[in-house]
Amino acid sequence: MISSAPGRKKRKWEGSKALVHLLLLVAVFLICFPLYYAFVLSTQSMEEVMVTPQKLWPSSHLLENYVKIWARVNMGQLLFNSAVVALAVSLGKIAISILSAFAIVYFNFRGKQVFFWMIFVTLMLPVPVRIISTYQVVSELGWVDTYMGLIIPLIASATATFLFRQFYLTIPDELVDAAKIDGSGPLRFLWSVLLPNSGPSMAALFVVMFIYGWNQYLWPLMATSSDKMKVVVVGIASTIPSGTQPPEWNLVMAVAMMALIPPVLVVLFMQRYFMHGLLETEK
């Protein structure tokens, strides 16, 4: 680029760089503040919480609060249930989508188009538009308040099926021919050629689907009736009593922290995959 006044230009750029930093620092502060505030509240006693404004640095009641609420709402069970649902939903979606995408790409069979179309249409049927009837199906199956009932209705995935289908279409035909010459069948090909190559796609889907599973609310709310089967995101609502009794906000915030740390860590540690997964699944 030709510039008549490189010095001025450079200074201007340095100045705008500082402005970018400033804006970003403000943004990061505003975005992270609610999390920090929730954390600080979770370390305070109720007396400290009820002073307006609260002190904005951690107090000494962290352990006490977390231990108290852990026992009261059976936190271990809630977190365990959330982990089971999130893992089973994400891995289940990946597994059944790999199988259907494999069938759709590598076989010619009657009804293929219809099946593909049926999987696609699930995109237009989110849980809220079929709540009552889905609940009735699960209830007919005797799955209310079971892991089956929590998990199975959530594991169909049009997006994962599309992703694997797109990916398989990019795999050279020569590999199939080679496999055939070697005398290996379709399942062997899936297992020893396709799967080892699908790592990044699976990781990417895993992050997005794990968070989808962990953060479900409406379905777990309906599909469970006992406290033993509750997931943590639903459990938080029960820590805020709706009556006249004021909630113990420090304990509520402790639950919020425990409910959001696992999925946030997954996002942070798998950020590269997460970006990729998000973009691929929504393409």
Partner: protein, 294 residues
């Protein structure tokens, strides 16, 4: 379709079976059943279903209460979509600059993708708390306006819009950022040579190039705020005060599961289904989603 493929009369059916069973049992059947239920009502004793034709729909479409929930849904969804998209676009442009510490800034924004909407709701509920919340405290210092979401409908609406936007920020920034990174550097350079810079460059070059992703995100945010935010309402405002935050999905749930009016709730599900189909079709029409059926 591959040119080279396997032949087996049974295997492909076995492979698609797991997904199809789930799809039929938990998607198609319930969707058709909702259609069926929407023309029935439960008898006063709750023991049998009475066919009522389109009465449920007539009931809804003549009830001011239902129109209010539609109105509140659109206020809420448009509020979330516009506030979240504009903030996200600004953030994405900022973290797309060539500056130090990008990895830190990006992580410090993108982590919000992991936050469940109801958890975000609970945290913002306290920030907005009329007595203890820090926001109410700060506002009380600079203005004498009352700011109490329990009493004021608009404050409650702002609260749930904040909570939903907060939980959806990471998602939007990720998409905008990816789109920005896909803009060829040469285009921007050429515009710079022509003397465009700063806001003008953004307005006449960058923003038009982002219009496909912006449209896509507009639809996705509408779908998100209509269908994925139930938890915020349920955990935080229970639709109140009055019915200020009773969005359509929440009303369908309350009518079906609290008031046990299955038919009425199913009719609402059918209307919501039409809405989500409309939004999805719109998205496919305009973004040329890479789906082909061969």
């Amino acid at each position: 379709m591959k040119k080279s493929n396997f032949k087996n009369p049974v295997l492909p059916y076995l492979l698609v079976a797991p997904q199809l069973v789930v799809v039929v049992l938990f998607f198609f059947w319930p969707a058709f059943d909702s259609l069926r239920l929407s023309v029935f009502t439960v008898s006063p004793f709750g023991d049998r279903m009475i066919f009522v034709g389109l009465d449920n729909f007539v009931n809804l479409l003549t009830s001011p209460e239902y129109y209010r929930s539609v109105y509140h849904s659109f206020l809420f969804s448009l509020g979330v979509t516009f506030s979240c998209l504009s903030v996200s676009l600004l953030l994405a442009v900022l973290v797309n600059q060539k500056i130090r510490g990008l990895a830190f800034y990006r992580s410090a924004i993108l982590w919000t993708f992991g936050v469940a909407p109801p958890i975000s709701g609970v945290i913002w509920l306290f920030i907005f708390h009329p007595t203890y919340g820090i926001l109410s405290y700060l506002l009380a210092r600079v203005t004498s306006l009352e700011f109490n979401w329990l009493l004021q409908e608009w404050v409650a609406l702002v609260l749930v819009i904040f909570a939903a936007s907060y939980a959806h920020l990471g998602y939007n920034v990720a998409f905008f950022l990816a789109a920005l990174q896909n803009i060829p550097g040469t285009v921007v350079e050429a515009a710079r040579v022509d003397g465009a810079s700063g806001l003008r460059l953004f307005r006449s070059i960058t923003f038009p190039l982002l219009s496909p992703v912006t449209f896509f995100l507009f639809i996705m945010n509408m779908v998100f705020s209509f269908f994925e935010t139930f938890g915020i309402i349920h955990a935080v405002t229970q639709g109140g005060p009055g019915d200020a935050t009773t969005i359509m999905v929440y009303k369908a749930y309350v009518d079906g599961f609290v008031h046990m009016r299955m038919g009425l709730s199913a009719a609402q599900s059918v209307i919501l289904m039409a809405l989500v189909i409309f939004l999805t079709v719109l998205q496919f029409r305009y973004t040329e989603k890479k789906v082909s059926y061969s």
